[in-house]
């Protein structure tokens, strides 16, 4: 199962990657939109700024002045590939910005009649200089003259590519930085929890643990630590109480002048008091886990075992009279023994309690 730090890391990895990807795609898309808008704005601005200067010269057939003006606007520094003016009802080329003659395809291009005012993209030409978008706008309604502006898309796109590469590089740097931060942050965030889990493992192995250091890390960990410490204290108190109770019970049993013992259903001693120890001449710890056959002759042990089974079969206390010989000093006593079957709280049979 994935650790919390790894989950945090994965979460940040996914969200950061997605947002970076989305940002990159949207930036690219936006730059392309802006590119289309900007070139149209460029064409429109050119037409608007040139219109007044051109109209009277077009009317006056002042071809030389217009040609000089168009040539002055074409430059290698900008994406304007060419400018030319068509005139008359047949849309023939009147003036242009080309130094070495106008390309034949422009002379023969069929420019559609544009009724609406404004700049319109009318042609796309793939030339050896790149992809040219030909924008056109009528100079003046009724004049039959249009200004055409060729804008080199390839130049613009090359510039855009450079920009996009820059954006991509920055995006990758941001992504990697975000991932590094996510990794460190994930570790930092999950560190107290990891330490807490480690302390619990140590506690489970019986070691002494130090939880107070973790209390200053975060409110959640502080709550967990406090709760766990409370649980430890309660458990220690319960253990102590149990030990006291056992000690009192053990004292009671050992104070009794009678023999007291407990055997399981197989006749193995589970417990006994000090008096019983004198009967078998052994300490309690040496009796527990053994049977009557380890201490007396088989005949006597068989009798004891037979009486145990009889009490078990009867399901209630059963009294016998037996002469016992104490191994501690060899004296004999006639004793009345009560053997009672003993059950767990849930009803499971434990064995036979003898007094």
């Amino acid at each position: 199962m994935m650790t919390i730090s790894n989950r945090i890391f994965l979460l940040i990895l996914i969200t950061t990657s997605l947002s970076t990807l989305a940002n990159f795609i949207l930036t690219q898309h936006q730059s392309m939109s802006l590119h289309h808008d900007s070139e149209k704005i460029l064409a429109r601005t050119l037409v608007r700024s040139l219109r007044d200067a051109l109209i009277q010269d077009v009317i006056n057939d002042n071809q030389l002045r217009i040609t000089n003006l168009l040539k002055s606007l074409k430059s290698h520094d900008n994406p304007i590939e060419y400018l030319y003016i068509t005139k008359g009802i047949h849309n023939t080329v009147f003036a242009h910005s080309f130094e070495k003659g106008i390309p034949r395809f422009l002379v023969h291009s069929n420019n559609p009649a544009i009724k609406q005012s404004g700049v319109h993209l009318v042609h796309k030409y793939q030339t050896e200089h790149g992809l040219i978008y030909d924008y056109s706008e009528t100079l003046l309604t009724g004049l039959d003259a249009s200004l055409h502006i060729g804008i080199n898309q390839t130049k613009i796109i090359e510039q855009l590519k450079k920009n996009n590469q820059y954006i991509l590089t920055i995006s990758i740097i941001i992504l990697l930085s975000a991932l590094l931060i996510a990794f460190l942050l994930g570790r930092q965030v999950s560190k107290p929890l990891t330490q807490f889990v480690h302390q619990i493992k140590l506690y489970g192995q019986g070691n002494i643990i130090k939880l107070n250091k973790l209390k200053n890390t975060s409110p959640e960990i502080k709550q967990l630590t406090t709760a766990f410490q409370c649980a430890i204290v309660e458990r220690q108190q319960a253990e102590s109480s149990l030990k006291s109770s056992e000690a009192r019970l053990r004292g009671l049993l050992n104070t009794l002048p009678d023999l007291v013992w407990l055997k399981d259903k197989n006749g193995i001693f589970l417990s006994c008091n000090a008096k019983f120890g004198t009967f078998y001449g052994a300490k309690e710890v040496n009796i527990i886990g053994k049977t009557d056959y380890d201490f007396v002759s088989k005949d006597i042990a068989d009798v004891f075992r037979k009486n145990d089974k009889a009490a078990e079969a009867l399901g209630q206390p059963r009294t016998n009279e037996e002469q016992l010989t104490y191994a501690s000093d060899g004296h004999k006593e006639w004793v009345e023994t009560i053997k009672a079957p003993m059950y767990e709280l849930n009803g499971d049979y434990i064995g036979v309690l003898g007094i």
Binding site: I14, L18, L21, A22, I25, L26, H29, S33, H36, R51, D52, I55, Q56, I59, N60, D61, G88, I89, H90, N91, T92, V93, F98, K100, G101, I102, P103, R104, F105, V107, H108, L121, V122, H123, K124, Y125, Q126, T127, E128, H129, L131, L140, T141, G142, L143, D144
Partner: protein, 334 residues
């Protein structure tokens, strides 16, 4: 009830796919591509300027043949430049649209170069119809046999106008008699109100150009007024409408006004068939710029025909023609 649930690791992947899908849809929906095909062209095949002219002629003849428009229904409309080509075109284009709808003929604006002449364009059949002042019409009639179809009605509903002489408000020139020895500005040399009528005023008052210290042609009524306001000229002879506007603003004073003369109108050349002339003339008379045809017109009230037209008669121009001949503006009389 089971408290433990298997972690759903697939939900993250689905969310990622969903985000990518939305992004894709957004990008598709924002696609602004057009349907213009890319043409593969050879830009190395160039035409020199001489070759271009030859090629243009070929294209013109080819496209002329391919043109399906009946040429006999296409007419060019010339005009005396009043403001700027842009402003004048904005005024005349809706008017031509009206003529097209009223007659069924096609009308296109013709822009006369500054070194050209509206009169010559009409006479040489570059234009078939033209809006021009009385002076230009008399020349067109004299030189090329043009006919005046209609005269423009002013805001008072009269087909006439006059000229004023204006001075600066603080000028010591108080009447026409005082202008001797001063500088006088005219508008355009071919303008009726800006030149012909002021010259008539001078002549009527026994003042010749030699009596002035100097005179100049400023090119337009506006320039003429500005020359007085700026102090370049002492007096300006110009159209009544602009002069009244300037007086209202307190910029100038009027020292003399002319008689009324026939206003600007629409003129036709001798090559247009009679049935076309009749149809166009009727459409012009029916033109109601202040009424049903007002929609779409651009500042028509600032033209010399704000209230439409009235049919022109030959006799309307008799007096003006005599003055033009007397002043030497007409070279030939038909």
């Amino acid at each position: 009830m089971r408290l433990h649930r298997k972690p759903n690791y697939c939900s993250g992947g689905k969310a990622t796919l969903l985000v990518l899908l939305i992004l894709s849809l957004l990008l598709i929906s924002c696609d602004s591509s057009d349907n213009i095909p890319i043409q593969q062209v050879d830009s190395s095949d160039r035409l020199s300027d001489n070759d271009l002219q030859l090629e243009n002629k070929k294209i013109q003849s080819l496209r002329q043949e391919n043109s399906k428009l009946p040429q006999h229904n296409n007419f060019y409309f010339g005009f005396d430049l009043r403001s700027s080509p842009q402003e004048d075109a904005a005024q005349y284009q809706p008017f031509l649209n009206y003529l097209e709808s009223a007659t069924g003929y096609q009308f296109k604006l013709h822009f006369t170069p500054l070194n050209g002449s509206t009169v010559d364009d009409l006479g040489q059949n570059k234009t078939q119809f033209a809006a021009m002042g009385a002076d230009s019409f008399l020349k067109a009639q004299s030189l090329y046999g043009a006919k005046s179809l209609v005269r423009g009605l002013n805001l008072q509903g009269k087909a006439e106008y006059r000229s004023f002489f204006i001075v600066k408000p603080n000028s010591h020139i108080l009447s026409i008699k005082d202008i001797k020895g001063h500088t006088l500005a005219f508008g355009n040399r071919n303008s009726t109100q800006g030149h012909l009528i002021p010259r008539i005023i001078l002549s009527e008052n026994g003042i010749s150009l030699d009596d002035l210290s100097s005179y100049s042609y400023t090119g337009s009524h506006q320039n003429c007024a500005e020359s007085v306001v700026s102090g370049q000229s002492d007096v300006c002879g110009l159209q009544d409408k602009l002069a009244k506007n300037l007086v209202t603003q307190g910029i100038v004073n009027i020292i003399h006004s002319s008689h009324y003369y026939p206003s600007s109108g629409i003129v036709v050349n001798q090559f247009v068939p009679a049935d076309v002339i009749a149809k166009v003339k009727q459409a012009l008379i029916d033109f109601k710029p202040q009424g049903e045809h007002h929609t779409g017109l651009y500042h028509w009230d600032k033209t010399e025909m704000p209230n439409g037209f009235i049919a022109a008669k030959e006799s309307d121009y008799t007096e003006l023609r005599q003055w033009s001949i007397r002043l030497g503006f007409l070279e030939k009389v038909h």
